[in-house]
């Protein structure tokens, strides 16, 4: 009798806790929508598709910020995913044990560095280095591509993408490593027994099996990249403009909120900033849904592969 009661109570308690997340999200969206009403009423859908951000004349448009957030995060993934997978494969499959421990520790240490430190490092070390060596090189040999054209300042979209990729590499690589380690040993043995080389065994048995888990790791990394504020603000150049060149300064949604919220006094100005928060929420949601859908699609395929 008593045990049943405890069981029931436990179930109820955890249900309430789980539901509180839903309630929290609903409240969050509701309060942001309420606070951004003046801007929504004034600008409507134009807010999403116009690029002027003028706090003095109270004309606001979010497009450059949406562009900056999406592109900087995509760039970060482009750099971080291959590197992280390499790290994870090496740590899980290839590294001798005396390297494994210290290296894993170092990677987890990277994840613990506060973002403001990354930002300061970005502005005082990475940006001058990029401006002095990498950007002239890219501009000289790949300058025919529109993404490597124009004047370079050191800070800008490219720098932000690199900083973000460094920040999400620990997340993606350490989770991927756990996922690889969780792949049953029999998978590898089976592949090797069929005459596969080391690389083929890793590619077929480990990477294939672990794909949904790796996707999860990438989504977590992407989440961090989309929401990262401090480090990006310090190196992106904070200019609300859309430019094809990765050298050009840009701006993200999280950055503009962090930059301008404390000193925003006008009602319309404040509500425009809150609306940017709302858009950031929905962009994150949409990106996550797309990524989830990809995982479902891919994981379905993987199951088939393994069984056959």
């Amino acid at each position: 009798m008593k045990i049943k009661f405890v069981d029931q109570a436990f179930k109820r308690a955890t249900t309430v806790m789980a539901l509180s997340v839903v309630a929290l999200v609903v409240l969050l969206v509701f309060s942001m929508a309420c606070r951004s009403m003046p801007a929504i009423r004034k600008f409507g859908w134009h807010f999403l598709f116009t690029g002027t951000w003028d706090p003095v004349k109270e004309v606001f448009g979010a497009l450059p910020f949406i562009f900056g957030t999406v592109v900087s995060s995509a760039l970060a993934l482009l750099i971080a995913v291959p590197v992280s997978l390499g790290i994870a494969v090496y740590l899980a499959e290839l590294a001798p044990s005396y390297i494994k421990q210290p290296l894993s520790f170092l990677i987890e240490l990277l994840a613990a560095i506060p973002s403001v430190v990354y930002g300061l490092w970005g502005i005082f070390a990475l940006a001058p280095f990029l401006r002095g060596s990498i950007q002239p090189f890219l501009s000289k040999y790949f300058g025919f591509l529109p993404i490597f054209q124009g004047e370079f300042y050191g800070v800008g979209m490219l720098t932000a993408g690199i900083i973000l990729s460094i920040m999400i590499i620990p997340t993606i690589s350490s989770i991927s490593r756990e996922v690889f380690l969780a792949v049953p040993f029999s998978q590898r043995e089976a592949a090797l027994a069929l005459g596969a080389t080391r690389w083929e065994a890793i590619r077929l048995a480990v990477l294939g099996y672990a794909r949904p888990g790796v996707m999860g790791a990438v989504i977590l990394g992407l989440g961090r990249a989309l929401g990262e504020t401090m480090a990006v603000t310090m190196v992106i150049g904070n200019r609300p403009e859309i430019s094809a060149s990765l050298f050009a300064p840009s701006y993200t949604m999280a950055s503009v909120i962090a930059n301008e919220f404390t000193e925003a006094t006008g009602n319309l100005y404040l509500s425009a900033l809150v609306e940017i928060g709302l858009i950031l929420f929905f962009v994150t949601l949409v990106v996550n849904i797309i990524a989830r859908a990809l995982v479902w699609k891919v994981s379905g395929k993987v199951k088939g592969e393994i069984r056959e």
Binding site: T52, P55, V56, I123, T233, N259, E263, A264, T265
Partner: protein, 342 residues
């Protein structure tokens, strides 16, 4: 389980008793607002605790915008702002709000030209056109005209500005609006503006970082920040036609230049003042208090503190690189403080 419960009860009881005990001794006065004067305010609160042991000031430097919102909502006992409140904002207030000027600060134009041994000089219209993106090269004839005998490099000018909303930007754009009609109509003044050109850095350190890292860059930072970090600070031509080096003295001279034309509510912009030695890019920072104080005891303590800060307190400004208010202004403020009812 029971043990844990008792522990929680005991701890909260003890902390509750400790809380009430200290509350009996100390009156807590809460304020919030501008970040720019925060170092000076904390010094004042620390020193004032020795003058009056019965009162404890707590100040949150959340930004001028937050300070104005909180004093309007009456969640704090005083607010603080680097920019005066607008008429519209004052209308939202439940009672009459007074602006009490506390200290003044200056904004300097800094740059990165490594081979330059002489300090650069700028006319107001040249500064405006650089930040408008019209003057693009360092060897532009208009810059050369202000700097005879200086060998200017031919590189591009990279403009750096604050990306975060700030009182520093407000003073700087206020200045540009007052000296350039084009700036006034195209950009205007505010804590954040739509910059025609340039890169944005977060905070004084962000702008200084951008300037230091890029040869040919120009930006603006607080005087205190420039002095502490040994940044070059250009001389700016003032209303009287003299090129003035930014300093505490020339900032105080700027405040003095407004003494005769000071409006009774002190909501005044300091930029481009009269006075042969006045540095033209400076601004006041204010504490915001209600004329009719809702709390008798707190109101009395706030007025006593403000009176002390205007007189004895001013001597702490110079060390922290704020410009003390001149006698002429302090007298007017003292008169104003008499109007506060409690």
């Amino acid at each position: 389980m029971k043990k844990l419960l008792w522990l929680i009860i005991a701890v909260s009881a003890v902390s509750f008793m400790a809380g009430t005990a200290s509350a009996e001794k100390l009156l807590l006065i809460n304020g919030a607002g501008a970040t720019f004067p925060y170092p000076l305010y904390s010094k004042w609160f620390y020193e004032y605790a020795k003058v009056d042991e019965g009162v404890n000031f707590n100040y949150q430097s959340i930004g001028s915008g937050g300070g104005i919102r909180q004093i309007l909502a009456q969640t704090v006992d005083f607010g603080a702002s680097d920019g005066p409140m607008t008429d519209e904002q004052l209308k939202q207030a439940p009672g009459e709000l007074l602006h009490i000027p506390m200290t003044a600060g200056a904004v300097v134009v800094t740059y990165n030209l490594p081979k330059m041994s002489k300090v650069l000089r700028f006319s107001p219209d040249v500064v405006a056109d650089i930040f408008l993106g019209r003057i693009k090269k360092w060897n532009d004839p208009r810059i050369a005209k202000d700097n005879p005998g200086v060998n200017l490099p031919g590189g591009n000018i990279i403009v750096a500005h604050r990306s975060d909303g700030s009182g520093t930007t407000n003073i700087f754009t206020d200045y540009l609006s007052s000296v350039s009609d084009d700036w006034k109509t195209r950009v205007g003044k505010g804590t954040s503006v739509n910059w025609p050109v340039g890169l944005g850095g977060k905070g004084n350190e962000g702008v200084a970082g951008l300037v230091k890292q890029s040869e040919g860059a120009i930006g603006y930072v607080e005087l205190a920040y420039a002095v502490k970090n040994n940044l070059p600070a250009s001389d700016i031509k003032n209303k009287s036609g003299n090129f003035i080096t930014p300093s505490i003295e020339s900032t105080t001279a700027a405040v003095n230049g407004k003494a005769n034309s000071m409006p009774s509510d002190f909501r005044v912009s300091l930029v481009n003042p009269d006075g042969a030695d006045a540095y033209p890019i400076s601004g006041l920072t204010w504490i915001l208090v209600y004329k009719n104080q809702p709390d008798k005891v707190k109101g009395k303590k706030i007025v006593e503190f403000l009176r002390w800060a205007e007189t004895d307190g001013q001597k702490y400004s110079t060390d922290l690189l704020y410009a003390p208010l001149p006698e002429s202004i302090v007298k007017q403020v003292q008169e104003k403080l008499k109007q506060i009812n409690y």
